[in-house]
């Protein structure tokens, strides 16, 4: 469990420095990562598609660009995209039978921005089908394994992105976060993940799950790389109707190891029942590190509506999903069931065989919450409680710069442990879901290990307050060395 000199475990900003200095080439770096994928992905199973050939030619272009002197900090840096982001000419499956053969005619804005910056895509990562899940076990293809313990889940739904970063199969990755899908796998895999303020990163080309909550963000091995990646993917996009139109700040300016005078609130509701004692203690210890660095910590902040965020989410997200997924009818693209006598049978059989159980459950639940007679009691009610939760966060941020919680209430759980109990699986996200409901940004970063398994610290900021959480996260990271830990993988060969 020590830092490695191997190129594939370099921080992206460190690799960028070596590339600029001519000490390594993008081709060398890409080959190192592709060999690493070859060596360990049979164990991790983080990737649905490996784009080796394209990566090699992109890496050559990157080397030319570096030589010409017009490189960006991400030129030549290996990248993995969650497989719900459209990539022109490359299969984009959402880890679903429904989209197994789908080859998009265009590339998602966030992905395109990274490619334009010269990042080298090496593959597309496994996920819970249509991003619905917290363990990546809902993938229609195969489960991904936690690089720290192959008998445990990597979290989800961006489990493949988090696991490949942890395993050195890429230097940076993108995930998407609707209720914790970037932060919870970041926590389980011991990496950094940011869910930006809703509207910061374009959703154009991100296959829709729950449109009012979905947000793309980075997964990286350290806070600096997350800030660099966020710099590249943020910004207004006319193709996304909820994109915020403003000048994007330079998030790397927030990489300052100083929290003196910063007001941090420890949210007591997220340290209570259901939170494993060792997780609680580890995260509280992280708060003490920030206090020692000069932050003013209030240890008893109450967000009284916390318990209602989960029910709000499990009404709103399935409602939006049932509407968004109505498009999969086996006619225009995607899987289509053969042999139906008429249109209705074709549609029903296509959706029966194209979707897995969790997706079906959420479609049914959404149809229920939206159906006449139940709409006011469920959907409208949930939207009203969402208003109250937003207000509670707005109010808290008049008193605090950053709120502090565990990312996940538990350590990574075992493969298969929760697959038969949807409600138990949903509880994995109790600390992350309120953030999406409020629409605010949050980061998860490693803050220790229990029995060899990583624990994640969540720092939540006010709307458009990415700089505050990056600054606090960076300060913590500089004071500790958890981000230098690497899982022992590949030694069994």
């Amino acid at each position: 469990m020590t830092s490695s000199d191997n190129l594939y475990h370099l921080a992206a900003h460190e690799a960028s420095r070596l590339l600029a200095a001519g000490e390594i080439s993008a081709v060398e770096l890409t080959e190192a990562v592709l060999s690493r994928i070859e060596a360990v992905d049979s164990q991790v199973r983080g990737l649905v598609t490996v784009t080796a050939e394209q990566a090699r030619s992109t890496a050559q272009e990157a080397d030319r660009r570096i030589k010409e002197g017009n490189a960006t900090p991400l030129t030549g840096i290996p990248l993995v995209l969650k497989d719900n982001m459209c990539t022109e000419g490359i299969a984009t499956t959402c880890s679903s039978r429904m989209l197994e053969s789908f080859v998009p005619p265009y590339t998602a804005t966030a992905a395109q921005k990274l490619l334009d910056a010269g990042a080298v895509m090496v593959g597309k990562s496994n996920m819970d089908e249509f991003a619905m899940g917290s363990s990546t076990e809902n993938s229609a293809f195969f489960p991904t394994h936690n690089p720290w313990d192959s008998g445990r889940v990597p979290g989800g739904s961006s489990g493949g992105s988090a696991a490949t970063v942890a395993a050195g199969e890429t230097l940076i990755a993108l995930g998407s976060d609707t209720g914790g899908s970037i932060r919870q796998p970041a926590s389980f895999c011991g990496v950094v993940g940011i869910k930006p303020t809703y509207g910061t990163v374009s959703r154009y080309g991100l296959i829709a799950f729950a449109s009012s909550l979905d947000q793309i963000g980075p997964l990286t091995s350290n806070v600096t790389d997350a800030a660099l990646t966020l710099n590249t993917i943020s910004g207004y996009d006319s193709m996304d109707s909820t994109s915020i139109n403003r000048d994007t700040p330079d998030y790397t300016r927030a990489l300052v190891p100083d929290v003196r005078g910063m007001k941090i609130g420890v949210v007591k509701e997220m340290f209570g029942e259901g939170v494993e004692p060792q997780v609680r203690d580890t995260v509280l210890e992280a708060a003490r590190v920030l206090e020692q660095a000069g932050a003013i910590v209030d240890w008893e902040v109450s967000l009284s509506l916390t318990e209602y965020a989960l029910p709000v989410y499990y009404i709103l997200a399935p409602s939006e999903a049932s509407s968004n997924l109505a498009r999969y009818d086996g006619v225009k693209y995607g899987y289509s069931w053969d042999g139906a006598a008429d249109m209705w049978e074709g549609m029903e059989r296509t959706r029966q065989h194209g979707f897995g159980p969790e997706v079906k459950r959420r479609i049914l639940l959404g149809a229920y919450a939206l159906s006449s007679g139940y709409y006011d009691a469920y959907y409208r009610k949930a939207q009203q409680v969402r208003t109250l939760i937003r207000r509670e966060y707005e109010d808290a941020f008049t008193r605090f710069d950053v709120l502090l919680t565990p990312t996940s209430p538990t350590l990574p759980f075992g493969l298969g442990e929760r697959t038969n109990d949807p409600l138990a699986m949903y509880l994995a996200d109790i600390c992350t879901i309120p953030v999406n409901i409020a629409g605010v940004p949050a980061v998860s970063l490693p803050c220790g290990f229990v029995d060899g398994l990583p624990v994640g610290l969540q720092l939540i900021g006010p709307s458009l307050g990415e700089e505050s959480i990056i600054r606090a996260a960076y300060t913590y990271e500089q004071a500790t060395d958890w981000h230098t830990m690497r899982p022992r993988l590949g030694y069994r060969f």
């Binding site: 959706r351 149809a367 949930a382 208003t387 605010v440 709307s463």
Partner: protein, 109 residues
């Protein structure tokens, strides 16, 4: 559980059958039974929201204050027809091919 006006409708397998029909998702009998129990449990758990006083509270659709965004009415190059049809399960003469809407031998739906 709190009292509300929503617990009078169908539940369990019966509810699943009607929702599956509404959503056009085919289901096996085993799925109907399994989902029935799970859906009942989930609905019971989310019904906790009925405890919250929301009198006079405006609903939130999404978290940022952006509504009705329009773009300039400028024509753009669309994707090509062949490109669009390349993902279609069945296409013919430049069109997506669909199945019979009313069934091969029927005149009434």
């Amino acid at each position: 559980m709190t009292e509300d006006n929503t617990d009078t409708g169908p539940s369990g397998p019966e509810l699943v059958r009607s929702l599956a029909e509404l959503s056009r998702v085919g289901m096996t009998d085993e799925e109907v039974v399994a989902f029935g129990g799970q859906l009942d449990a989930i609905i019971e758990s989310v019904s906790a929201l009925q405890e919250v006083d929301t009198e006079g509270v405006e609903p939130t659709g999404h978290a940022i204050d952006v509504t009705n965004v329009y773009r300039e009415d400028i024509a753009r190059e669309p994707y090509g027809r062949d490109e669009m049809l390349s993902n279609a399960p069945a296409a013919q003469e430049g069109y997506v091919r669909v199945r019979y809407v009313f069934g091969e031998d029927e005149t009434e739906p």
